[in-house]
């Protein structure tokens, strides 16, 4: 059984990998109910008399139907670590109305596949207090509410909060799907492309874009004593002229974010970051959680080795749950 807290030394060799959140750009398009008018004009002459010039018009209009469509995206597709037992283990999802009309969406979950342990989902919560992550003053989703109403293109972050049973085997995994279904009556019985004659906003035609007017995405809980997630991103670029362009002389500041989840302790943690090609290290730019660190090999658990051309951050122990942010700056040659 491999657990991080039994490893004598854990070393991460990081290369520049920009983790960019893939932002789904959903454009709902022309709102349901919009009248699209076509107007055409013809002018002509009868016989040889230029005075006999006629102008006539014709027009035709149709009303845009409602497209019922939703999208669920797990915000931690790689899953999260959890202890066993645990309470309030949180998975995050983004729910978006990708249709072109106002629509409430019913939310359900499916937790634990066959032969997996089964988390107990204690509640679905809607992010509402403006503070990232689930807090108890976010809004609890009530199944009896008739669904979460969303305007076209509107998104909400949904938290699935679960309790994890005791004595689950280490590294066991349990998938959790968040399922969104349009609340319009009859929509959940339709296949993609079918329609509801008056199921749209204000009684217009509604077209179903997904089988059973539903969409889902999954993430998972993984039981581990400690789970480490490490991400390296660029947090700023400052060019020599006060701008933000990448050019020779520009200073690029990277952040290495370490999230320790679950519970337990990681021993002898070391991050090793080699200077990228065509860049040089900016002296005295090492920081941890915003605090300056020296380049020397001393007691502040960070140093820059000019022979190896590599920066080191270290810690004798990292206790989970915790978050550690390291930054350093390189200069483009």
């Amino acid at each position: 059984m491999k657990t991080y807290d039994t490893l004598q030394r854990l070393r991460f060799v990081l290369v520049i990998s920009l983790l960019s959140m893939t932002a789904n750009v959903w454009a709902a398009g022309t709102p349901a109910g919009t009248v699209v008018l076509n107007q055409v004009e013809v002018s002509y002459q009868v016989g040889s008399d230029p005075e006999g010039r006629y102008v006539e018009n014709a027009s035709h209009a149709f009303t845009v139907s409602e497209l019922i469509q939703t999208n669920v995206t797990a915000l931690e597709p790689q899953g999260i670590g959890t202890a066993t037992p645990a309470t309030n283990a949180v998975l995050s999802y983004q729910l978006t109305n990708t249709g072109n009309g106002d629509e409430p969406f019913l939310l359900t979950t499916q937790a634990g596949l066959q032969e997996q342990f089964t988390p107990t989902v204690t509640g679905l919560w809607v992010e509402s207090n403006g503070v990232a992550g689930w807090q108890s003053d976010d809004t609890l989703y009530l199944p009896s509410s008739g669904g979460l109403p969303l305007s076209p293109d509107q998104s909400e972050v949904i938290y699935v909060v679960s309790d994890i049973p005791a004595e689950v085997e280490d590294e066991a995994q349990s998938d959790v799907a968040l399922i969104s279904t349009a609340a319009t009556v009859g929509a959940n019985t339709k296949k993609v492309g079918e329609s509801l004659v008056s199921g749209g906003n204000n009684g217009i035609e509604a077209v179903i874009a997904q089988d059973n007017a539903t969409h889902q995405d999954s993430s998972h809980y993984t039981v581990s004593t400690v789970k480490l997630d490490v991400a390296k991103t660029i947090v700023s670029v400052e060019d020599p002229y006060g701008g933000e362009l990448s050019m020779p002389g520009s200073e690029v500041t990277y952040q290495i974010r370490v999230v320790a989840s679950g519970s337990g302790v990681v021993n002898d943690f070391v991050i090793e970051d080699a200077v990228p090609e065509s860049m040089t290290y900016k002296n005295n730019s090492l920081k941890m959680n915003g605090n300056d660190l020296s380049d020397d090999s001393d007691s502040d658990n960070a140093n820059f080795d000019y022979l190896l051309n590599t920066a080191f951050f270290s810690s004798e122990t990292i206790s989970a749950p915790s978050v550690h942010e390291y930054t350093l700056t390189y200069i483009i040659e």
């Binding site: 055409v40 013809v42 006629y54 139907s65 072109n100 492309g193 035609e205």
Partner: protein, 165 residues
């Protein structure tokens, strides 16, 4: 947005048609009508995908629309110098290369009909003052100049396709 394969309903097209003559009180010699249909992708027996025109009763964003204008001479004399002008409908964009019209010279406008030109000649002036070739999505109007006489009882049609935004 992807085009969704529609379940096709055969139903009467709910259209309204209005014609008027601004120069003559009597019934105008040419009868003009505008029609709209949705083009849905269907797969034929050979597995080949093609578009089929159906009633425009459930159009949603991303759908392909076929506009057809028919002009018929109900008079007892030939009509000449026929020009049909059609602004691109609101909330749609013209689809490149879809305008058709037998014996017609087709031109486009990018300034709501102030000036006209061919696909090759039209330019668009950008905010920074530079000029680039116009794209189909820049078109604001289409114009057909019918180069024949339309004889009594004769009817012709022109068409174009657009996509609902």
């Amino acid at each position: 947005m992807k085009i969704i394969k529609k379940i096709i309903h055969v139903s009467a097209l709910a259209a309204f048609l209005s014609t008027m003559s601004v120069s003559q009180a009597a019934a105008p010699p040419i009868e003009l009508s505008s029609d709209v249909q949705e083009l849905v992708a269907v797969v034929d027996a050979n597995g080949k995908s093609q578009f089929k025109a159906v009633a425009a009763d459930e159009i949603v964003p991303g759908d392909r629309i076929l506009y057809t204008t028919t002009f018929k001479n109900n008079g007892d004399k030939a009509s000449d110098k026929i020009v049909i002008s059609n602004p691109i409908p609101n909330n749609t964009r013209f689809l490149s290369g879809t305008a058709t019209g037998e014996n017609s010279v087709i031109t486009y406008s990018v300034d709501n009909g102030v000036s006209w030109g061919s696909v090759q000649s039209l330019k668009v002036k950008l905010k920074d003052g530079t000029v680039r070739a116009a794209e189909a999505s820049d078109y604001t109007n289409i114009r057909w100049e019918y180069r024949r006489s339309l004889q009594p009882t004769e009817a012709k049609a022109v068409s174009f396709q657009a996509q609902l935004l």
